[in-house]
């Protein structure tokens, strides 16, 4: 509850900041401070200190898993904000509103990590999405941003409709909105499960797959990620996406086992995984723009996160947390660097290692992590995902597929490293924005990734402390 209340409060505070605070530079720091308080509040709650004591069950349940994920997500937002301070300032007079919307998105995140009721799932998803529609279109004069915003909005609204239909049908089948299903009705059943419930679940899963950009519901992702302003893309592709996965995971954790008698979810998920990995990786290969390549790469990474939802065991749970951390940090770092380079194409990165060695070196670590090279966090993230599948004991061919696609992914990640290190060129960087603070932040993130890769237990020990 701490994080939820604090983020809502800070959202409102920042809204007023646009009137009250004259010093524009201060706003970013106020937001960062706000995030810090939310982070502290959430950690405090993990150790049992709460601001309020409302009885929120059966709507929300703050368990260790959700709280820990909150910490990861808020920490990632914190790092994101610190890396994007200048970038967000460039949005002009709407800077406080930008932060307001981010705080509201954090509200949505905290709801999604703790929901116990489908109503809360719906509200969480909407609170998460609606600010993002606005953020995507925040570059108002840019036609790409407009287009992305419109596409995202239309498809998002459509998927909301789908999701509501699913929830309504589940309600018709079980008579409750609780995540834990009540009694199953005895008439009109298929292998003991109501037809309405099964239909509703499949539709709801499709809507969740849309939010998590899992194929074949991923189509919005490349266009929106490409069109949105870079900091927004960074935010959407990382924190928001892994949150959607967490919500998906929570839903499946309960409902998949419950309806196992009727639906062979493993097969459906397996098809989704293969399709996502295929489309994400294969399409990323041919991209000329780094931003669009990263958009597809985020779809490919979503394919790997789907493994957690496929196997639904303890390893998957740990792995999802680990993956969220590894993936978010690396991608945030990459997008932050990209916003300092004017040309987003691969040629624009040519020779970056000569001009900005720190940026190139940290980016190389991020890319290595994303492609899953050992000694980086990305390796263990992928390892946990594949290990979780092996632990289920069936569908081991999925592991082989995963490894194959991970190999393919090396192609496009290393292409960027190649451009930075082995090609000559004069990248058009915005030098006055590459402050020592920015560089140091990148180094901290890179070191963190390597540390996580060398000592994977650091993160998980804390989870189980």
């Amino acid at each position: 509850m701490n994080a939820l209340i604090l983020s809502a409060v800070w959202g409102i505070i920042l809204m007023f900041c646009s009137i009250l605070v004259k010093n524009k530079k201060a706003i970013g720091y106020i937001a960062a401070f706000g995030l810090l308080t939310i982070l502290i509040g959430n950690i405090a709650e993990t150790y049992g200190t709460q601001i309020t004591h409302y009885n929120i069950y059966p709507m929300l349940l703050l368990d260790r898993f959700g709280l820990f994920f909150n910490t990861i997500a808020i920490l990632s937002v914190f790092i994101f904000v610190l890396l994007s301070l200048i970038e967000i300032r460039k949005t002009g007079k709407y800077e406080p509103e930008f932060y307001t919307l981010i705080f509201f998105v954090i509200c949505g995140i905290t709801i999604l990590t703790s929901y116990q009721n489908l109503l809360m799932l719906f509200l969480g998803i909407e609170i998460l999405s609606i600010p993002l529609y606005i953020l995507t279109g925040s570059d108002k004069k840019n036609l790409k941003s407009n287009e992305a915003s419109l596409k995202y909005f239309l498809m998002g609204a459509f998927s909301t409709g789908i999701m509501l239909l699913g929830i309504a049908l589940i309600y018709g089948g079980t008579g409750t909105f609780n995540l834990q299903p009540g009694t199953h009705s005895v008439v009109g059943t298929y292998h003991g499960i109501s037809f309405l419930e099964i239909t509703g679940l499949i539709i709801l899963m499709c809507a969740m797959a849309f939010k998590a950009s899992v194929a074949p519901f991923h189509f919005w992702a490349p266009d929106v990620y490409d069109g949105a302003p870079t900091p927004v893309t960074s935010f959407m592709a990382t924190i928001v996406k892994v949150t959607a996965f967490l919500a998906f995971f929570k839903l499946c954790e309960v409902r998949v086992t419950d309806t196992l008698t009727a639906v062979n979810w493993k097969m459906i998920f397996a098809v989704m995984i293969v399709a996502t990995l295929f489309i994400g990786n294969i399409t990323a290969i041919f991209q000329q723009s780094v931003k669009r390549m990263l958009a597809y790469s985020s779809i490919a990474q979503a394919g790997f996160m789907m493994y957690a939802i496929f196997s639904l065991n303890d390893v998957a749970k740990e792995g999802l947390l680990y993956y969220a951390m590894a993936y978010s940090l690396a991608t945030i770092g990459l997008f932050a660097t990209m916003s300092k380079i004017k040309d987003y194409s691969f040629e624009g990165y040519n020779g970056l290692a000569k001009k900005q060695p720190t940026l190139a070196a940290t980016n190389a670590i991020f890319l290595l992590s994303l492609s899953g090279i050992p000694l980086t966090a990305g390796f263990f993230a992928k390892y946990y995902m594949l290990a979780s599948v092996i632990k289920t004991g069936s569908y081991t061919w999925l592991v082989i597929v995963g490894v194959c696609f991970a190999t393919i992914s090396i192609y496009y990640y290393f292409r960027l490293i190649q451009a930075m290190y082995f090609k000559t060129g004069n990248p058009d960087t915005i030098d006055h924005e590459i402050t020592p603070f920015f560089k140091n932040m990148l180094i901290v993130v890179a070191v963190f990734i390597v540390l996580l890769g060398a000592f994977p237990q650091l993160l998980l020990n804390w989870f189980y402390f």
């Binding site: 498809m155 459509f158 789908i162 519901f217 189509f219 639906v263 399409t283 041919f286």
Partner: protein, 634 residues
Amino acid sequence: MNALVLCIPLLPFLGFLLVGLLRNKLSRPLIGIIASGVIGIAFILTLVIFFTHYYPANAITYFDFIKNSKYDISFSFQVDQLSTLFMLIITGVGFLIHVYSTSYMHDETPAHYARYFSYLNLFVFSMLLLVLGANYVIMFLGWEGVGICSYLLIGYWFKNNQYNYAARKAFVMNRIGDVGFLLAIFWLLARLGSVDYSIVFSNASALSTTDVTGITILLFVGAIGKSAQIPLYTWLPDAMAGPTPVSALIHAATMVTAGIYMIARSNVLYSLSPVSMDIVAVIGVATALLAASIALFQNDIKKVLAYSTVSQLGFMFVALGVGAYTTGVFHVMTHAFFKALLFLGAGSVIHAMGGEQDITKMGGLRKKIPITYWTFLIAVLAISGFPFTSGFISKDEILLAAYSHSKPLFWLTAFAAVLTAFYMFRVFMLVFLGGFRGNDEQQHHLHESPPAMTIPLIILAILAAIGGFVQLPELFGGHDYFNQFLAPVVPALSHEGENLATKEYALLGGTIVGLIIIFLFCKKWFAVNQFEGKYTGFKNVLAHKWYMDELYDAIIVNPFNNIAGFLKSIVEKSGIDGIVNGVGRFIQYSSRQVRLIQSGLVGNYILIMVLSITVLFMVFWNQDLIIAFLQKIF
């Protein structure tokens, strides 16, 4: 005391690190002092162990080396009479050769000089590890270590490609043997769950005959590789590409006897398997004969000595094969003395001749290099078995043991011994007697070697002459000191109930008569002023080493190269590369196609989403059918 034992191998290792890492900083004398000094100290420490009789019953364990739920292989040393004897040989002879090298290698630049000594120190360290290890795994560590040092030192002059090939050959041949050794270790682990000597030997009787035979044969395969026996002997003559002191230390005195050490160490296992023993004896005598016959007509002084080493190693295996383990080990010791002496003497000759190794170009060096001449003579007498030299006593025992085992074995071994005397006298006559056959420049260059080289020669000559008295037969007033010394570890062959005196007198008489005849013939043929060194007929076959290298090339190397060439040019280039590039091209192609799905039109996107939901439903309602279908396919 345990720390002291650990110091013995650690000192050469420290020397290796010091000399190797500071090779560009240290001056030449300092390098020599450090490298020889550590070996000298190690020798003194070994002497301390020898004189205090520090032979703990249990292995000294230092730390766990490999430990898991099934195996516990510790890093431990076994200090007993056998390992102490080998340590004495390694550090003692090693020290002399280090001292000799300081002078022999003086033409090298300081950095290369340091490289040479660091390798040499590393070799001593590995060899000590090999003999000190209290289980087969530690022995294997040392075994591999000496292999790599041998490789590095054979190819020491790495700018000569021929030498590099020789180094590679030695390495590959050794690896073939190592496979056998490794398999034996695995077999032991699988059957007994341990490789510690104490556990293996006390439980050996529990092994089935098949296991024992298999293990011992595989161990012997390892020994064949390391100790250059048929069929893996061809690397040793080529190994003469290395500097001569290296040949003396590694390829005569110590490393090549590792196989003997291993079998002597495993005598408990071998005694359980008569089949393996016979194989060892047969391979030994065959190698002794073959190598001796080849040595008859070689013109390169070091090649003769190399084949002589192979042949002598064959003698040792004969001794082991007939169960006279102590005799084999004894011959290792005497051989270390006289063969090291021969090599160092040869080195001195080569040094005097300014790098010339061809004996047809030498002759009449007796007056020019007297110390070398006298020490070499002693060595020749010792290896030929001149009565009461060390070689006589050890070879005598081998022959006696062979005689009591089987008569044909005895005669073959005796014949090999005759050949030994013959080729050694031939070399001796060609080098030191007759007239000088080299060119004027060489004649001008002739000089006696400096003291750093001659003193080791003299010390070794004394040892070669009288070193055998520790095992003087009782008939001549000896007391079997050597056998008694080793008795706690290695049993001696018992000659009870045999009429030893007659046989020994017969051998003594036969040896003297034989040597005189050989000497006279050799003097007539080889102590001459002109010697062509061209052979025809059977002699030519021998001079070409029975065409063994050519045979190996034809039946193993060339087919192998051809297959490799085929794999490289056909399978690799068009097959594997084709597949790999094809996959890459296919992915790029599909990438270009797949991205077209992303049409940019919201309507299309939503249509595909709706269609996929519909498809999901169709799949869902027919899932039983689909699963049944899939199960049929897979």
